[in-house]
């Protein structure tokens, strides 16, 4: 069974139909990259899968590990094994990163019928993870994303992903706005996460992250549908030729 199955997905936001028939199948152990110009529907796809309010599924199906996601609340999708790394991670002043991460992990444990971790145990685990990823431990004491740099916010998304250990991680432009060092740290985190039982879907504008995290499949999203799929070499073609040649192919 595939881990993530998107079939004939039509999504409306307010009065506009943004996605019109997206199909995507992601199997365990795979890395998929979704590329496409601005306004093609990339963020609509990730927000819809994560359950953002206002993204109305008009038609089609969304399944994670066989579970139908469409009717589930965002937290239930998280319990089902979904993780979305936000393009613009949200600041939550006054809530420390450690407190936030512990609340999230404890919520998952509760759902699985496990008891909450002790603070000492949790802090120990987090310290080990942070060190492994070359993050500054100070990171954990600060307010969630509060006055974090762009790079720090994206690293924080990766940290959350590793903490929650989802089945499918959707990374929405996690590479944008990163300098070379931060890009390598993020790539290291993704490679650390991936194994033969989970899957990663990278939504990106650029080829450069794909030099560090090599995708098995590359899909091009244009005007709300996937117009072309291929292997990693497709990303290199796009980098060289842009999207115009596909736009003509997919014309009305």
């Amino acid at each position: 069974m595939s881990l993530l199955e998107v079939s004939d997905l039509h999504v409306r936001v307010a009065d506009r139909e943004i996605l019109n028939g997206v199909n995507l199948e992601v199997n365990p152990g795979e890395i998929h990259a979704i590329m496409g110009p601005n306004g093609s529907g990339k963020s609509t796809l990730t927000n819809t899968i994560a359950g953002q309010e206002g993204y109305i599924v008009e038609n089609g199906d969304l399944r994670l590990n066989g579970t139908n996601l469409v009717e589930l609340e965002p937290e239930e999708r998280s319990y089902a094994g979904l993780f979305l790394a936000f393009q613009y991670p949200v600041e939550i002043p006054g809530v420390t990163n450690m407190e936030f991460l512990k609340t999230a992990v404890d919520s998952h444990r509760k759902q699985r019928g496990e008891t909450a971790l002790s603070s000492v145990e949790f802090i120990k685990n987090m310290r080990a993870l942070v060190t492994k990823l070359d993050f500054n431990p100070e990171f954990l004491k600060r307010g969630v994303n509060e006055s974090f740099s762009g790079g720090e916010k994206k690293r924080n998304e990766i940290l959350q992903m590793l903490c929650l250990d989802p089945k499918v991680a959707l990374l929405d432009e996690t590479d944008s706005g990163l300098d070379i060092d931060a890009l390598q740290v993020v790539a290291k985190g993704i490679n650390e996460f991936r194994d033969s039982n989970n899957a990663v879907v990278l939504v990106t504008h650029y080829q450069r992250l794909l030099n560090h995290v090599v995708p098995d499949y590359v899909h091009v999203l244009l005007n709300g549908t996937i117009v072309k799929s291929g292997d990693a070499s497709l990303a290199l073609d796009l980098e060289r030729m842009g999207y115009a040649w596909l736009e003509q192919d997919s014309g009305p």
Binding site: A50, G51, Q52, E53, E73, P74, E75, R77, S78, Y79, L82, F83, L84, F86, P89, V90, E91, I92, P93, G94, V95, T96, N97, M98, E99, F100, K102, T103, A104, S107, H108, Q111, S119, F122, I123, M126, P137, L140, K141, G143, V144, Q160, L164
Partner: protein
């Protein structure tokens, strides 16, 4: 008012009583500073004669003198400062307090501020109270104050180089409560105040801070979490009357059910107060449709070369923040709670404040 004959404060002379009665004016209803709280209601409900059994506050550590206004080490200070620090010529509640308070007491610090700071606890009381606090030169003092329904009137003088930390805790009460606090801050002294409030039938806090000496530092913060039909009205005025002083004011409030929060924060900078650094901020989150928030920051500047800012906001919980937490598996209600707790945690500096506001003390901080 009770039907018993009212005993007039025995420690006032006839002339003071006469002057007080003569000068007392009823404020204009429905106009600032009584625009959202009925002064009539406060006067009618605030029936709290002086309770003669009240004990003097407890102190923790040496270096403080506490005594009645008539006590030997206090009486000369009381004569000099009581009713002199606060300018209440037109405040009817102040006059009422002055005339009804059968006894007043003073807290005078004598511990040098390089030694361990003594702590004095002013307990809650529903009676009419009058308190004088004197922080002597280069001494320090910490006050922990609880209020629950009463007419309390505090006058405070911080002499040059003195340091006062004042924590005010306002728990739930079904009473009407009026608190008046006036603090005169002298040269190079500091006043740090934290006020944490939850519901009351009607609670009014008038706070006036007069900066009278160069280089003084004032830091006032507070938070409220109101539910049911609670009514909280905080009127804060910081008057800069000397140069090179700093004042920071920061208040965060969460207002739910049909509660009302009123905040008026005013910074006044006199002509003789250049190089002032003054900032005031009030943020509110309403968690229900029935909640009401009236907030107004005011800034009045007559001096050149000052750094000032003021701002006030009222809004609802940010849906994007809630969504973010929910995608991490934190349920909707817990997400809201976490965001509100964090919002209040930004102004809470100690466990007692966290406890009265009902938020989790910061346990998991990564340290």
């Amino acid at each position: 008012m009770t039907s018993q004959p009212v005993k007039i404060a025995p420690w006032l002379d006839a002339k003071q009583i006469e002057q007080t009665i003569e000068n007392t004016r009823l404020p204009q209803p429905r106009k600032d500073p009584w625009k959202y709280t009925s002064v009539k209601q406060v006067l009618e409900r605030l029936d709290n004669p002086f309770d003669e059994t009240n004990e003097l506050p407890a102190q923790n550590g040496s270096g403080v003198i506490i005594g009645d206004f008539g006590a030997p080490k206090i009486s000369s200070l009381a004569r000099k400062h009581v009713n002199q620090i606060a300018n209440n010529s037109n405040n009817v509640l102040a006059s009422l307090n002055l005339l009804r308070a059968q006894r007043g007491y003073a807290i005078v610090s004598s511990q040098r501020n390089d030694s361990v700071c003594p702590m004095v606890h002013i307990p809650a009381s529903d009676s009419c109270e009058r308190i004088l606090i004197i922080v002597q030169e280069y001494t320090n003092l910490e006050i922990l104050e609880h209020t629950t329904g009463g007419n309390r009137f505090i006058e405070c003088l911080i002499l040059p180089g003195g340091q006062l930390v004042h924590r005010r805790i306002q728990p739930v009460t079904t009473h009407v409560e009026y608190n008046s606090l006036t603090v005169n801050v002298m040269e190079n002294s500091s006043y740090k105040m934290m006020q944490y409030s939850v519901g009351a039938q009607l609670r009014r806090n008038d706070i006036v801070i007069n900066i009278e000496g160069e280089g003084a530092r004032v830091d006032v913060s507070g938070g409220w979490k109101l539910a049911d039909t609670s009514h909280l009205d905080t009127q804060l005025a910081v008057n800069h009357r000397a140069k090179g002083a700093t004042s920071h004011q920061k208040f965060h409030g969460v207002v739910g059910d049909s509660a009302r929060a009123i905040f008026n924060g005013r910074i006044y900078i006199a002509r003789n107060a250049p190089k002032t650094d003054a900032h005031l901020q009030n943020k509110n989150i309403a968690t229900s449709d029935g909640a009401a928030i009236f907030t107004k920051p005011e800034l009045e500047i007559y001096a050149d070369d000052v750094a000032c800012s003021h701002g006030a906001t009222s809004g609802q919980l940010d849906e994007q923040q809630i969504f973010y937490l929910r995608t991490r598996g934190i349920p909707d209600d817990r997400s809201r709670e976490l965001i509100l707790d964090g919002f209040l945690a930004e102004i809470v500096e100690h466990d007692e404040g966290a406890s009265v506001l009902g938020i989790q003390p910061r346990k998991v901080d990564g340290s």
